[in-house]
Amino acid sequence: MSGSALDPKTAPVFPIAARTAMKDGQLRRNVRHATDVIQAKRARVVAEMPDWQELREAGKQIRQHTMENLDFYLEEFEANCTRAGGVVHWARDAAEARQIIVGLVKASGSDEVIKIKSMTTEEIQLNSALEAAGIHPYETDLAELIIQLGHDQPSHIVVPALHKNRQQIREIFQREMNLPKLGERPEDLADAARIFLREKFLRVKTGVSGANFLIAETGGVCIVESEGNGRMCLTLPETLIAVAGIDKVVPRFADLEVLFQLLPRSATGERMNPYNSIWTGVNAADGPRAFHVVLMDNARTEILADAEGRQTLNCIRCGACQNACPVYRQTGGHAYGSVYAGPIGAILTPQLQEMHHAQSLPYASSLCGACYEVCPVKINIPEVLIHLRNKVVKQNGPLNVEAFAMKMMGMIFLSEHRFRAAQRMGRMAEAPLVRRDEKGEGWIGWLPGMLGGWTKVRDLQEMPQETFRDWWKKRGTHGS
């Protein structure tokens, strides 16, 4: 999958992509190691917060309140950002956002940009649009640099290159930075990135960023990061362009007191990430002279309109659900065919596609609930998954084997008589498949069609000759 962009429109269905991904033992070891480490760190710093559940509740309510008043807060943000010298643009979809950003970069007179890690720019595949317009984008986050130089795709919201280990990263840097003698200690690799990028930071005049939070009350923008590349990109260039989904707005400056506690602990297991930057419009003595914000919808209003799906927009992109998810931990991110992988991706991606693509993703979960448990803003991901499955079923209509079987089962459960008959039928139907084991117990080791997925690695015990209700009936007559 490396090389071509992760595009839900063309990606293979999840079960197929997952099978391919799971054949890569190195990938699985890398993903396992990384998610184990982050989960342990997260658990430790969350445990030291006695008010964690109260913070989660506040986080959820702030986000929910924002969505309910989204029109007001966006207009408030726009007015305040504009007053402070920023320029606000609105984009209905990815194409419009790309067009605006390419236009702004060209107008800044630069044919290269330095970029802060931004899932939103990944979502709209900004880099290829910039390249097509003759503009060279330099990713400056270490992980994004690894991805860009390796012609790879991000596989995690917070740690996009977690599927690569140090040897793999060294190979990429040796090749792409022309450093044949580069060592493989993480320090050596980080140093190489520092040297490689410093010259770009000092030279390139235009920066492109995402945004973690847009503050309606002040018109301020907030970016949370670790390496300092974000500060470089938003401080040193003459022109800064921030692109953000309309869901990124928060009502007031004070609300950051909740989000600054929830986000770092959930994302990287830090009490606070190394750098948070907040700026408002343009400051004459400090930072870029031109500042643009692109507010992008790209199907978010579609999600907002769905009462049950709406909570998806509360996401603050911490990635905790990915680290906790037993499915993601087996497959890694690329199997999801989208830059948003894991449980949040399984609900966000199909909705961003207006349910036209990625219909297999709502089923990429055992509904174990580990994602909901760690979500800092309490998004009930299993609930949304079920809601989206229902949409998929409606889309698929009644004319398929599964829908027919489900309809039959539904009919059976509506009548005790039919249910008993079905139990008897089941015993008869399975009889030809049952084999005796050494203890004389009956087991099924092969099932036809879709059910064959079960018997690939599992046996199925034969149905007992007497159901509970038969036993109960007899017992009523003869006593126990």
Partner: protein, 246 residues
Amino acid sequence: MRVALFITCYNDTLFPDTGKAVVRVLERLGHTVEFPAGQTCCGQMHWNTGYQSEALPLVKRFVEQFRGAEAVVVPSSSCVAMMRDHYPKMAAEIGDAALIAEVSQLLPRVFEFSEFLIKRLGVEDVGASYPHRVTYHASCHGLRNLGLGDGPVRLLKAVRGIDLVELNALEQCCGFGGTFAVKNADVSSAMLEEKTGAVLATGARVCTACDNSCLMHIQGALHRQKTGVKTLHLAEILAAQEGAEL
């Protein structure tokens, strides 16, 4: 107390011994068990797979069968989670005001089996004896949706002669997830492999849980691998008394 048993469709069909064990334990504790004959399924499979319109009528059916019960006991954590988490919403979806009211009145009287013993009856020692090495698997729905916590473990610890060994990565899903095991068979198998690995590492002869659906999944692999390790619903261990066979 008069306890109504909701056996659930798959226990009825595939695991009748679990139901018999529930009856034995409750009667031993001096309660009367009733079995409303018209009961079938809680609707979980349909609901969780996206077949809303097939699931909705089952809410009404459940209420009709159990509305008069003093307490409803269910030996399946995922079915109880289904009812608690979704029935109110489903009743609202149907838009039947009477049903909405009945659901909200009935749900507080619905208990998962171990939860009923610990929280409703306040019992930990049910007079069981089971002198074997056992490990306990915490089903996701019991652990997260119902918040069973260490309740099942406390019940097991009170069993005479039991050698209870803790399962590594207890909070990890076994990979069943209903139709997930079929729709995403490869991922499910990989998750299952980790679970059975953890079970085997305990050296236990028996893996127990509050949910036969997880156990059926785990058992399927343990049997395929010819490990000789069995799975058994918690109720069956709690029903066992002196001289019980493995």
